[in-house]
């Protein structure tokens, strides 16, 4: 397959964390997956062994996706086979994200996040229990 060439003069990335990838060059398949329990508490008490993804349906429910195969024939002509970018400046790349300079074939990314907030009751009449 005839591909375009990506030319980037300068890239600056401040921080990369949580399974992020910075790739220079072509790839064939990219698959990213992340899940997170985002817990905010009024009191800063966190045990290291808390959290079970399986009890929350948000982490197991199937996501309906469009089929990636297209039925119509597609022809691409690269009259100028160069993608040129002078500068890229990124503050942060996080949680199974990808910064990719180059071409790929198939990209598939998925993320699932569950937010939980735990607050103290203001008074007993307002308290709502789980």
């Amino acid at each position: 397959m005839f591909r375009r060439t990506s030319i980037v003069d300068e890239v600056k990335i401040g921080t990369m964390f949580y399974s992020s990838i910075f790739e220079i060059g072509d790839s064939s398949i990219i698959q990213g997956f992340s899940r997170a329990l985002a817990v905010q508490r009024e009191q800063e008490t966190f045990y290291g062994n808390e959290g079970n993804f399986n009890i929350y349906p948000v982490f197991t429910q199937p996501i309906p996706l469009q089929p990636v195969e297209i039925s119509i024939p597609m022809y691409t002509e690269n009259l100028n086979p160069i993608i040129k970018v002078n500068h890229i400046n990124i503050n942060g790349v996080s949680v199974a994200s990808v910064v990719h300079i180059g071409s790929s074939n198939h990209v598939s990314m998925e993320t699932r996040i569950k937010h939980i907030r735990q607050l103290f009751p203001k008074n007993k009449t307002q308290s709502v229990d789980r």
């Binding site: 062994n49 808390e50 119509i72 970018v85 998925e110 907030r117």
Partner: protein, 58 residues
């Protein structure tokens, strides 16, 4: 139906991004297929007001 694409000149001066997060992708290049999915859950039940109870363990 025929889908014919002509890629002519593509030149970008500068890209400035605050964050690429949660299984996102920034790609300078071409790709055949791309599939992105995201589930984000913040229902009213996720706000727990009451005495502190740790979450279930694995």
């Amino acid at each position: 139906m025929n889908f014919h694409v002509y890629n002519r000149d593509l030149s970008v001066g500068s890209i400035r991004i605050i964050g690429v997060s949660s299984s996102s992708i920034l790609m300078i290049g071409d790709t055949q297929t791309i599939q992105l999915a995201s589930v984000f859950d913040t229902p009213p039940e996720s706000l727990i007001i009451g005495p502190f109870v740790p979450l279930a363990r694995e």
